[in-house]
Symmetry: C2
Subunit: 232 residues, 2 copies
């Protein structure tokens, strides 16, 4: 319990509608732990159904095929939470959670999480919104896996990463340069395919690496490459 | 309003924890409509964010690629509901809804749905459970699309359909015989692939059509065919 932070849950977006006193009371009922980068926070095969509140740091939710092939899902920043699926339905973990940086986690029991999430309408709404966002993203991924080839899935992932930075001059930067293996995991292909697609795009003047940035030189053209195929 | 049924929502599983009086009050605030088989209940491109309670009949949630290729998702029976994603996040519909039989629907506004779902803890929990189930099923589908070939996805879908009927003698029946096109939509392949896989399985003594039933003669063997590949 040396990691216990009475006001630690104040940083958690889900609980912002509670009073500071309510959050302190919840904090006392959580288990607090610190993790180093690359340390496993929750193993997929573990029996725990606790919800993890990320108080400091950044974590990655990773799903594996039976053979151990990594199929990445999502990165969660400080202020977020994860692991609610098992708390809600009592079923086994669907994924493992790994620390990407030094990370402080508050573990909350399923009983306490469900009590908190259903007794406070504002919290209930946020839990539903997050689940809805996960459903939307999974549905989009199913559509892409069903209708796009591997090359175009890499294109679609680049568009997704670059979109927040899209500028009026039709360029966008991705910082830092994404790791080939991460993209490969996210779109269910191999690292080699990602490397090949990157060098094809560079040759065609659509993509350029500049130090720590990956620059999309022609966002619309890349978008059209994906849309053209999605419409096939 | 000729279709209005004061006690119609009594059949809705989500609302069973409310009092009969609370359900009648909600019923009065819904719009009630009757649909014939094959009639469109909600168009994907519609502006409506209403939640649909299926009071009588059966409906299908259908997603399409831009080109109009059908990618089926789910069938919902009387007592169920759907369309809550748009009510929760205010985003456009992710799918269309079509009546499979004569169907009675009560449409509830997003505002009233969210009020009901967040003010009643038992209702909130059921909404979260349903979303969690959708996430689990989508995640499983992403894993299958990422790791299995089309043939094995047809096998996996047959296992899913047959599992509820699995008997001690290692056989199982699917009734009625599934339509090739429906399976093709669900696992993102073509009708021709489904037909070919069925005839391969029949030749190998794993599958047999008997009138209105499709009989899995060796469930374990079919299971091993999928597990063997999932583990690759």
């Amino acid at each position: 319990m040396t990691d216990f932070q009475p006001a630690g849950l104040d940083r958690i977006e889900l609980l912002k509608s509670l009073t500071p006193e309510e959050r302190v009371a919840l904090s006392r009922q959580c288990s607090w732990r610190h993790f180093h980068a690359q340390e496993q926070i929750v193993d997929r095969s573990s029996e725990s159904r606790d919800v993890c509140f990320i108080v400091e740091g950044r974590v990655r939710v990773v799903n594996y095929s039976l053979s151990g092939r990594e199929i990445t899902f999502d990165d969660i920043e400080a202020g977020g939470y994860l692991g609610e699926l098992s708390a809600i339905d009592g079923e086994p973990r669907s994924a493992s959670i790994v620390a990407l940086t030094e990370t402080q986690v508050a573990f909350m029991s399923p009983r306490l999480f469900l009590e908190t999430a259903t007794q406070h309408p504002a919290v209930a709404l946020l839990v539903m919104r997050r689940l809805a966002r996960i459903v939307r993203s999974a549905t989009g991924r199913i559509m892409d896996l069903s209708t796009l080839g591997a090359n175009n899935r890499v294109h679609a992932e680049l568009l997704r990463l670059a979109k927040p930075d899209l500028r009026p001059d039709n360029t966008a930067e991705i910082t830092p340069v994404p790791i080939h293996n991460d993209i490969a995991s996210r779109v269910s292909t191999t690292r080699e395919t990602v490397a090949r697609v990157f060098s094809d795009l560079a040759r065609d003047g659509i993509l350029e690496r500049r130090g720590n940035h990956l620059v999309i030189l022609d966002f619309r053209k890349l978008e059209n490459m994906v849309e053209g195929v999605r419409g096939d």
